[in-house]
């Protein structure tokens, strides 16, 4: 028989996180003898592109579609339609809303990822008065909001609930800027934040590339020593930055694991007709070079060996 076709729809084409996810899926599909067709939204937040991709994959004969939804709610009708035609749909990375419109969910809890680095930062600041800068993703992006608000929760500042799409802004946060998760824009944002308040001593970054850009800005201003940087992601480059002391701690997530699990479920479905179900938290792990008392963390070596779920 023909190799089963499995479709993968990531959020964007360029985010290393999703590129890794795609590579994991391709490798797993090759191993299990399936054909993987990978597509993506055109930009972060692009729902229409994902709907189109979903429809085209169904038309292309995919029996399983793995999707990292750009918009938890707006994608729902398209998923329902795909499932109605007998396709198994699995959400990766982040849930749909409601959760149960997909057959199964393999994802990171982004709010929790934020919480972990918040707790770590709280401990590491050791009672010092925090002057916080936050480099967020882009306006209106749920992942950005969840990590942001989770971080504040972990740090013990007033915040918003996990499902909120707004960014809480307690007075300790002196500067908030959008980095688009991008190195260059992170650098520019940090430069302007430093100009606004040179005394910033704690930096939250949406991901590691933005943190690396911010670090460059700090270094240029000669301030990289007096600041604590925390981020989310746990990519291999990010872990290396933790090792170098650029980033103090990061919440590591596991896109390769998500992808592999998704592909395996797809092959299983093709072979046996048995669908995957339920929520599998693929986990987040706090990786820090210097552990803090009262906060569970793994060291850099563990982090590097696991980066993004590498086996």
């Amino acid at each position: 028989a023909d190799a089963p076709v499995i479709g993968l729809i990531t959020k964007t084409e360029t985010n290393p996180f999703f590129v890794t996810m795609k590579e994991g899926a391709v490798a797993e599909a090759k191993k299990l003898g399936a054909k993987l067709v990978a597509t993506a939204g055109k930009a972060d937040g692009d729902n229409a592109g994902q709907v189109t991709a979903l429809e085209n994959l169904v038309a292309a004969g995919a029996k399983t579609i793995l999707i990292a939804p750009n918009n938890a709610q707006a994608i729902v009708p398209a998923i329902k339609k795909a499932r109605a035609s007998g396709v198994m749909v699995i959400a990766l990375d982040s849930p749909t809303d409601p959760v149960d419109v997909v057959d199964a969910l393999f994802a990171t809890d982004n709010y929790k990822a934020g919480e972990l680095i918040g707790q770590y930062a709280k401990a590491a600041m050791a009672g010092k008065k925090p002057v916080i800068a936050m480099l967020d993703l882009l306006p209106g992006h749920p992942v950005g909001a969840q990590r942001h608000n989770g971080f504040l929760k972990g740090f013990g500042l007033p915040t918003l609930e996990a499902h909120s799409n707004e960014l809480a802004r307690p007075p300790e946060v002196v500067c908030m800027a959008d980095s688009f998760g991008d190195r260059t824009k992170g650098q520019t944002a940090m430069e302007n934040c430093l100009q606004k308040n040179p005394d910033i001593n704690l930096l939250y970054s949406i991901n590691e590339p933005a943190a690396a850009g911010a670090h460059k800005a700090l270094k240029a201003a000669g301030k990289e020593k007096n600041i604590l940087i925390v981020a989310v992601d746990g990519g291999c480059a990010g872990i290396a930055d933790v090792d170098r002391g650029v980033i103090a701690a990061t919440s590591q997530q596991y896109p390769l694991r998500m992808a592999a699990m998704g592909v395996a479920a797809g092959v299983e479905y093709a072979k046996t007709g048995k669908k995957a179900s339920g929520y599998t938290d693929t986990g987040v792990t706090l990786i820090a070079a210097k552990p803090q008392a009262g906060v569970d963390s793994q060291d850099v070596k563990t982090g590097a060996s696991l980066c993004w779920g590498k086996k």
């Binding site: 597509t39 429809e55 707006a74």
Partner: protein, 322 residues
């Protein structure tokens, strides 16, 4: 006098056919590559996928025909969809009323664009760059960056289908095609339609012949707003939600459809049906390449090459004919 009577210089016919030939070539190619491509149902799917951009591109075509450009189209569309869904969801307006509110907002944006372009004589690029940002910000603020899903039945009617032969066709696609026919007719057969071409072709001459060019421009920008409003409705009907992150790539997509369809960015020359073909070309590439199992990075690569090839073939064949 060395001239012979003829109805229409042959160049015009070819310029019009050009994009169409490119579309046919693309279809032939994909049909040869995937047996799933050539089915009524697949074409219905493609129509449905391009309907939002295609309707936006109608407005964009009108603006470009007047030698303008509208960068705000996608964001204004997103704002329209947020306004109409939020009016229904949060303020309990009935579907028709909520839709009217949404469209009113998009037309208002068209009015603002038009006033700035005509009364202060600002370049359309700058004006719509500004209103693009404004529309985006208002969308985010008004929606709290939340997707609005709790919308009444009446608002998604256009997303419903009817069956023709064995193919399910979305009502929205029919509306889109109908809009193209209406605009095609209006541009070709009515006085205001010809004035749109005249303004783009030679604004000064048009002013001197006593046409109120400002009024034509204002009308065009408002009409464009209307089409963005209709596109907003189609987008709500298609996704069943008001999405504050929609519309971000639609301006480049719509302008590309217009230019691929053979309309000149310098105004005054072009065909509205070309725009439909231009929008379809993009949709066909995306669909066909996915059916072939091409992954998306390669899809982007191939799309880049095919866009150039398609237009180049057209151009070279025309030079050959000359």
């Amino acid at each position: 006098m060395p001239s012979i009577t003829f109805r229409r210089p042959p160049q015009v016919t070819l310029a019009t056919l050009g994009p169409f030939i490119a579309l046919i070539l693309a279809c032939a190619f994909f049909a040869s590559q995937s047996e799933r491509f050539l089915s009524a149902q697949n074409f219905s799917l493609i129509l449905q996928q391009v309907m939002v951009v295609a309707v936006i591109a109608i407005g964009q075509t009108l603006v470009i025909l007047t030698a303008g450009i509208d960068l705000s189209c996608g964001m204004v569309m997103a704002l329209g969809s947020i306004v109409m869904t939020k009016m229904a969801a949060s303020h309990d307006l009935s579907a028709p009323l909520a839709i009217a509110c949404g469209i009113a907002v998009t037309v208002l944006f068209g009015l603002v664009n038009g006033l700035l372009v005509t009364k202060i004589a600002l370049p359309p690029f700058i004006v719509t760059l500004g209103t693009m940002n404004i529309a985006f910000a208002i969308t985010q603020l008004y929606s709290d960056a939340q997707t609005i899903t709790d919308i009444p039945e009446g608002m998604t009617l256009l997303g419903g289908t009817f069956v023709l032969g064995q193919t399910a066709i979305v009502w929205g696609a029919v509306l889109m095609l109908a809009l193209y026919l209406i605009v095609w007719f209006a541009l070709r057969e009515t006085a205001p339609g010809r004035h749109v071409y005249a303004v783009g072709n030679n604004p000064e001459a048009t002013r001197l012949t006593g046409i109120a060019t400002d009024r034509v421009l204002l009308g065009v920008y408002m009409l464009a707003g209307l089409f963005y409003g209709i596109a907003a409705l189609l987008s709500v009907a298609r996704t069943g939600a008001g999405d504050p992150n929609a519309g971000q790539t639609e301006n480049l997509d719509a302008i590309s459809a217009v230019v691929l369809g053979g309309t000149s960015l310098f105004g005054g020359r072009g065909m509205i049906l070309g725009t439909l073909v231009g929008a379809l070309i993009v949709g066909v590439f995306r669909n066909g390449l996915t059916l072939m199992g091409v992954s998306s990075v390669y899809q982007i690569l191939v799309t880049g090459i095919l866009v150039i090839l398609a237009v180049a073939t057209d151009q070279l064949s025309r030079q050959g004919v000359r």
